[in-house]
């Protein structure tokens, strides 16, 4: 068993009568990269703010490195590097002044220059070291934010949506960076992008409405949510007749037109039963009716699908909700 770096037991945070975090318990071992997954307002940031000591909690216990975060606030804060959702940057300072300030603030006792230079190398901000933070691009600002979290060599990094608002190349860079950092840090990161979790995390904790709905290893998460398969097909032909043909194929649970993206074809989302591959029967059925099939691709599981299927697993009564949401999510969440 690994040493426990973060141990949370029956954590509750209440604002008035509203529960932001409702009875959460989990443990993070040393060297793990854990992803907090959930939609906005699920309690991800609140939980992170509690671990870092920014917010208090209503009840429960939170231990970091075996120390209670209230009784040993000072020691715990030295152990954690935190990147909040909005990087805490002073726009009027240069990167150099800022990192030196953070260095002093965290009361570090390393070789200052060497330590800061190392961090700049790791997050690749050495080229903007002398520039004013307010003038930097979003990607650089985010990386300065990560640099700030790394000052003082904390054992634990808590990153709240580290890739939000970055362009695709920067996202890949930041993910690679997180993976590199994961070699010698314990990391908790939050996100609402499933593929991000799959790309960097060892383990996923899914939070919904302040409760944990799943806590699994990343490779298990896909099988955990194995449900009906969906494919998107571009087909030429009159919509009504094509739909009839599609629905007649054995194994098809539902078929819906989602839009016309070019002149003569319409895109359909076809959902099939679990374990049934309908691509071949689909092709022959369409060929027989002479509706040319010009595109076919599987639709990945969006976060909301994963989410709802996990919630559904616990509350079967809500199953009917799934279809309405999943259609929307397939286009939104896919990256």
């Amino acid at each position: 068993m690994q040493t426990q770096m973060i141990h949370i037991d029956h954590l509750v945070k209440r604002y008035g009568s509203k529960y932001a975090v409702n009875d959460i318990s989990f443990t993070v071992g040393e060297g793990e990269i854990v992803g907090f997954l959930g939609p906005n307002g699920a309690g991800k940031s609140t939980t992170m703010n509690i671990i870092t000591g920014y917010l208090s909690y209503t009840s429960g216990t939170v231990e970091v490195g075996g120390l209670d975060i209230i009784d040993y606030a000072y020691e715990v804060k030295k152990m954690i590097g935190y990147l909040p959702e909005q990087p805490p940057l002073y726009n009027d300072m240069t990167v150099e002044d800022y990192l030196n300030f953070v260095y002093d603030l965290k009361k570090c006792t390393f070789n200052r220059k060497k330590h800061l230079m190392e961090i700049c190398e790791v997050v690749r901000i050495a080229d903007v070291y002398k520039r004013v933070i307010g003038h930097l691009s979003k990607g650089y600002r985010q990386r300065v934010g990560i640099a700030q979290a790394l000052v003082g060599n904390p054992k634990i990094l808590i990153l709240d949506e580290p890739t939000i608002g970055l362009d695709p190349r920067q996202i890949v860079e930041v993910r690679n960076l997180i993976r590199t950092l994961g070699l010698d840090h314990t990391i908790i990161l939050s996100t609402h992008i499933l593929s991000e979790v799959q790309a960097v995390c060892d383990r996923v904790i899914i939070i919904s409405r302040g409760k944990i709905v799943a806590d699994k290893r990343t490779e298990d998460i896909a099988t955990a949510v194995e449900g009906n398969r969906r494919i998107s097909a571009k087909i030429c032909g009159p919509q009504k007749e094509v739909l009839q043909t599609l629905r007649a194929i054995t194994g098809v649970v539902s078929a819906e037109a989602v839009g016309q993206h070019d002149a003569d074809s319409i895109t359909y989302i076809i959902e099939s039963q679990q374990g049934v591959d309908i691509r071949k029967p689909l092709f022959s059925a369409l060929a027989k009716s002479n509706y040319p099939l010009i595109g076919l691709e599987p639709v990945g599981m969006g976060l909301e699908d994963v989410f709802l299927s996990l919630v559904d697993a616990k509350e079967p009564a809500t199953k009917s909700r799934r279809k309405t949401v999943s259609r929307r999510s397939s286009t939104e969440v896919k990256e």
């Binding site: 030295k78 954690i80 909005q86 002073y90 300072m93 002093d104 603030l105 009361k107 700030q148």
Partner: protein
């Protein structure tokens, strides 16, 4: 605490605020000083000068304090401060000390005005020193009021206006006394009045009572600022 102090001092000079404060303070104090003491026919008594200066503080002290906490809150940088190994008191006191350093340095710079007094008149040195101590203490009290008010809002303008209002109340409370008949209210008003305590210094008396009062005002408002942060964390 030292880190926060250093950053605050730096930010006064990387933004125009520090320069504006010093410039306005020195210009206005020089102007008032020459009107109140250096004109033909006025003596070298500095009482009027210092009294007017108290009212100048109403405008210039908010310049120093309006953004101290409100700006941190608006830009979310307070998250960095509150999650670093710094005590709340250290954080508040570091900010206070930086604003106060600006105030004290500028006041001391304005003491160059007195050279003219010594050259052309016979100022009472004891009185000048007494006044200066009182001014420095009142400055501390007002700065901590400003720090407290800026911790209440994210908006610098509201912080500045709030600070102006509270400082004015402190200065003017005793003036209301002549219109109020109820003894209890008068007692309270003259108790909170900064100005009525300043009176003794005007007569050249070093009033320990007043010194203690000014210290308490600073202490109370800094303490309240810490409490605001504790409360916000626990709400």
């Amino acid at each position: 605490m030292l880190a926060i102090y250093k950053r605050e001092m730096l930010s006064y000079f990387t933004s125009p605020i520090g320069y504006v404060f010093m410039g306005v303070f020195l210009a206005v104090s020089g102007f008032i000083f020459s009107l109140a003491t250096l004109q033909q026919g006025v003596d070298s008594d500095v009482g009027t000068y210092f009294t007017i200066m108290l009212f100048v503080f109403v405008v210039v002290i908010p310049l120093l304090t309006m953004k101290s906490f409100s700006e941190e809150r608006r830009s979310r940088t307070e998250q960095l401060l509150l999650t670093s190994p710094v005590s709340l008191f250290g954080m508040v006191f570091g900010k206070f000390l930086a604003a106060y350093t600006m105030f004290a340095i500028t006041y001391i710079a304005s003491c160059f005005n007195y050279i003219a007094l010594y050259k052309f008149g016979n100022p009472n040195t004891g009185q000048l020193v007494g006044y200066s101590i009182a001014i420095l203490l009142i400055g501390a009290a007002f700065v901590s009021v400003g720090i407290f008010i800026s911790s209440l809002t994210e908006n610098q303008i509201i912080a500045a206006i709030g600070t102006i209002a509270v400082i004015l109340i402190f200065l003017l409370a005793s003036f209301l006394n002549q219109y109020i008949d109820v003894y209890a209210i008068r007692a309270v008003l003259s108790w909170i009045s900064v100005y009525s305590r300043f009176g003794n210094f005007t007569h050249g008396v070093f009033d320990f009572n007043a010194v203690l009062y000014y210290f308490s005002i600073s202490g109370v408002f800094l303490f309240l600022t810490v409490r605001i942060y504790e409360k916000r964390r626990w709400e």
